[in-house]
Symmetry: C2
Subunit: 119 residues, 2 copies
């Protein structure tokens, strides 16, 4: 369950829709597949993908495979975004300085703001 897979799972409308549906409760594969104009084997690939990337759990009983949404990957995804936001917001003030400082604009394109004369 690496970040690559976690995000890739979200990069497809079918898979996002499945997660959306599962958000309101468990469902069997064919129930989930019903809204989509897609052959079952194709659809199953999406289910397996979601499962192997930690977005859902599935469990077969009889001939029916039931899918349940799982919070794990969800948290991983949110954590990454949240870290990113923290980083970005942590330097917003310095960015503003950069944008409005004509010297920096002309000079090197990106002095990268190396830990400025911190207070």
């Amino acid at each position: 369950m690496n970040l690559d897979g976690v995000f890739q799972a979200l990069a497809d409308p079918t898979r996002r829709a499945v997660l959306g549906r599962l958000g309101s409760g468990p469902a069997s594969v064919s129930e989930l597949a019903q809204p989509f104009d897609m052959a079952l084997p194709s659809f199953m690939k999406h289910i397996r993908f979601l499962e192997s990337n930690g977005w859902i759990r599935t469990h077969k009983s009889g001939r029916i495979r039931t899918c349940v949404i799982e919070k794990a990957s969800f948290d991983v995804a949110e954590a990454w975004l949240s870290d990113q936001r923290a980083l970005w917001e942590g330097r917003t003030d310095r960015l503003e300085q950069f944008v409005t400082n004509p010297y920096l604009k002309e000079d090197r394109a990106c002095p990268a703001l190396p830990t400025p004369p911190s207070t």
Copy 2:
């Protein structure tokens, strides 16, 4: 700037690393590329991908192209996750009801929910 592309952009370690780096300030393409063992044209594809999916803005001045992170796609991604979370949490109580209601359990195929980690 559709969800497909927004999430796909995050499904690659190089692109996530670039966003991470840009989180602490603007940089030129070659500065960004420097840590990666990759030919420049390959790297540029990542930059273009991030740009065309709204994760960064770029601007060329002289022969240097400077990249700046952008909040737009970020918000879109967080919004989707947040909606998803709302949905999921909004029905946790009902889920609980579902799990503990023997009638529902027989009725539909889905009860799966492998033993809640409770008590």
